[in-house]
């Protein structure tokens, strides 16, 4: 795994790196085919307005997938993010309802801090107490969800209680492009730099691909894990604010089950659930594929009974294509080694 990363960083583009990139090309190819298919059935699919709508609706998924990617790379998983979204969204909505004049950017910060604190609790349980990520986050998922119902008393915060400035956070646009898209692009750039060009970013891969040798080489694993879950929590908190602003409503069951969509986007994008590998471009494509499905299926005018089935079938197909390409890559890898 580490040799792979070493090769990927090698500026000399040899055969192997081309093959590794091919894997994402496979997904891209699949997405293009899907787009052509949808466009034939409904010509309004590839219009400027629809593409913007699609991108806006996929932005939150992209931001969350970035966080989930680094969690998965460290061999972890975070099931609590849907609940963190709900909690931070609800608290922020209540804050806005109580102080309508509050600066919207302050709301973003408020939600992010709440999420980061939630993430830090998870990180401490995993890094210091040594709980399994799936158990720790499952428990906290229920705790955070329960907290959301507790602080909201089961009541919703509705759009009339929210200030225009707050709703404009996710509803407004800059240069004709929705704020959500800008925020997602910003985080993609930050993560690209963070994962590829910073020491901490490389340490995340090291911890995930081989914890023992990472420890031997002096990487403080606990610190990396704490950081990863805190980042995931912070992003979830931020997305909670954006979610509530986008739909102009906060309810206790906001984003319930959304963690599975995010994990699916990562796995589709080629992130290994066994840790150690995963690339930003792949995750981005995975999230976009899910975004396209959510946007295109209603446009296809198929029976709702078929919709879920078709969605599952397409995901399965994408994963199979990925697996075949990966097998071929691995075989080439072995052949090269033998040679």
């Amino acid at each position: 795994m580490e040799t792979k990363e070493a090769h990927a960083e090698n500026p000399k583009k040899n055969m192997l790196t081309l093959f590794y990139q091919f894997r994402e090309l496979g997904l891209l190819f699949f997405i293009i085919l899907l787009c052509i298919g949808v466009q034939i059935r409904n010509p309004s699919f590839l219009t400027g307005e629809n593409i913007l709508d699609l991108a806006t609706n996929t932005s939150i998924l992209v931001i969350l997938s970035l966080g989930m990617m680094i969690v998965l790379i460290t061999r972890g998983i975070d099931l609590s993010i849907g609940a963190v979204i709900a909690l931070s969204g609800m608290l922020t909505a209540q804050l806005v309802a109580a102080n309508p004049s509050i600066n919207p950017l302050l709301c973003l910060l408020f939600g992010t801090v709440i999420g980061a604190v939630c993430g830090m609790v998870i990180g401490l349980l995993i890094a210091r107490v040594g709980l399994l990520p799936i158990i720790a986050t499952l428990a906290l998922m229920n705790i955070f969800r329960g907290l959301t119902f507790l602080v909201s008393d089961g009541e919703w915060v509705s759009s009339y209680q929210m200030s225009d400035g707050f709703v404009a956070l996710a509803g407004g646009s800059f240069l004709g492009i929705n704020h959500l898209i800008w925020i997602a692009v910003f985080f993609c750039l930050v993560f690209f730099y963070f994962l590829n060009y910073t020491r901490t970013g490389r340490q995340i891969y090291a911890v995930g691909s081989n914890p023992q040798s990472a420890a031997v080489s002096g990487i403080k694993q606990g610190r990396v894990l704490l950081l990863v879950y805190t980042i995931m929590g912070g992003l979830s908190g931020l997305c909670g604010v954006l979610w509530v602003s986008k739909f102009a409503s906060a309810q206790g069951d906001t984003a319930s089950g959304y963690e599975l969509t995010v994990i699916a986007a990562c796995i589709l994008g080629g992130v290994s659930i066994a840790g150690g590998s995963g690339k930003l471009a792949g995750v981005l494509l995975g999230a976009i594929l899910l975004g396209i499905l959510n946007n295109a299926l209603p446009l296809l005018n198929v029976s709702p009974f078929w919709q879920n089935g078709i969605q599952g079938f397409i995901i399965l197909l994408a994963v199979i294509v990925n697996a075949i390409v990966k097998r071929r890559v691995d075989r080439t890898h072995l052949l090269r080694r033998a040679g």
Partner: protein
């Protein structure tokens, strides 16, 4: 604050006990001579501090007073079956004549309510039903046929009786919504709606993100769409948000069923000229009239009986699973005029 509430609660209880002991000889007399003294009508809601429940109690109280009965309004602090059971036990001791209850659990109240019925107390459930063995009758807040038909009447008025319309529902399996949509389709068969075309029934699954995607898809697939009917709160609010974001108010009309709080913004802005939901005051009143008829032995909750709901019309007792129920008529209309007073209620 909680302590204070407890003291107040105890004070009220003491007062009630006092009232009870004073009234004891009277009610003893009443059991032998039923015409003596006003009858006692109790209403047990799910929990205190619920604005929706308060409106329902308001309706119940005013209707009972108008009929000359005595009203007892009781609710537990928390929406639990245990709290309601305690209250029902107390009401049995108080020898009330009728208990109306919005059940926190369909089955858990059965022992307490059966005990009440064995002592000759009439029981009806309102809003959320208790099981058939625990009640004489259930008062259902909605008549599916009227809900469906009223939506089409509204949409026809909004778009001038001509154009394409679409429905944005909850899940494709949702029993309530599917029944309403069936009635919408039946209403559309009428001659006066021949120029209205229902192009699609979309399902947002009561999820915000899916409802948004489905609304966007409707707008793109049917550029001439004139109106959307969304008979579900999450759906109608999500559609309202999409129409607002796309600046389509006045071009695509929106109506359906939704919580006034969720819809206030969109009704005030005109995106949805008006929409519907049941009115808790009317539900409370209907419960009171039904309780009165039960208390006076005018009805017993059998199939086919007629219940006189005064200004809400006369309704027939119909089947509901193993038990019976009555259904209220038209849903209540929320528009620019009244949305402000309702948005804080529920």
């Amino acid at each position: 604050m909680k302590k204070f509430a407890k003291w107040v609660g105890m004070f009220v209880l003491v007062c009630m006990l006092a009232a009870c002991s004073q009234g004891a000889p009277e009610s003893n007399g009443a059991s032998s001579n039923t015409d003596d003294g006003p009858k006692k009508y109790a209403f047990v809601f799910k929990n205190t501090g619920n604005p929706y429940g308060e409106k329902m109690q308001e309706g119940f109280e005013s209707a009972v007073k108008e009929l000359g009965g005595e009203v007892i309004l009781r609710s537990p602090d928390q929406p639990t079956a245990e709290g309601q059971i305690q209250i029902i036990e107390q009401l049995i001791t108080q020898k009330v004549d009728v208990i109306a209850v919005a059940g926190n659990d369909p089955d858990a109240l059965e022992p307490a309510l059966k005990k009440a019925r064995n002592q000759g107390i009439k029981v009806l459930s309102v809003d959320s039903a208790v099981n058939a063995a625990s009640r004489n009758i259930h008062v259902n807040q909605a008549n599916p046929e009227r809900i469906g038909r009223v939506q089409i009447e509204a949409v026809s008025e909004m778009i001038g009786g001509e154009g394409q319309i679409a429905v944005l529902s909850a899940t494709s399996q949702a029993t309530n919504q599917n029944e309403w949509i069936e009635w919408m389709k039946k209403e559309l068969e009428k001659e006066e709606y021949k120029n209205i075309e229902l192009v699609k029934v979309a399902y947002g699954d009561d999820l915000r993100d899916k409802s948004v995607s489905e609304t966007e898809a409707l707008l793109k697939s049917y550029p001439d769409l004139k109106a959307i009917i969304a008979p579900t709160t999450v759906g109608i609010a999500a559609a309202g948000k999409v129409l607002t974001d796309k600046g389509l108010e006045g071009e695509v009309a929106l109506t359906g069923l939704g919580l006034p709080s969720e819809m206030a913004t969109y009704i005030e802005s005109g995106v949805s000229p008006w929409m519907y939901l049941w009115n808790p005051i009317d539900v409370g009143k209907a419960a009171a009239y039904t309780a009165y008829e039960l208390g006076e032995d005018n009805i017993s909750g059998e199939l086919g009986e007629k219940v006189d709901l005064r200004d809400l019309g006369e309704v027939e007792v119909v089947e509901d699973g193993e038990g019976t129920q009555i259904m209220l008529g038209d849903p209540f209309k929320f528009d620019k005029e009244n949305i402000n007073e309702w948005k804080d209620v529920y």
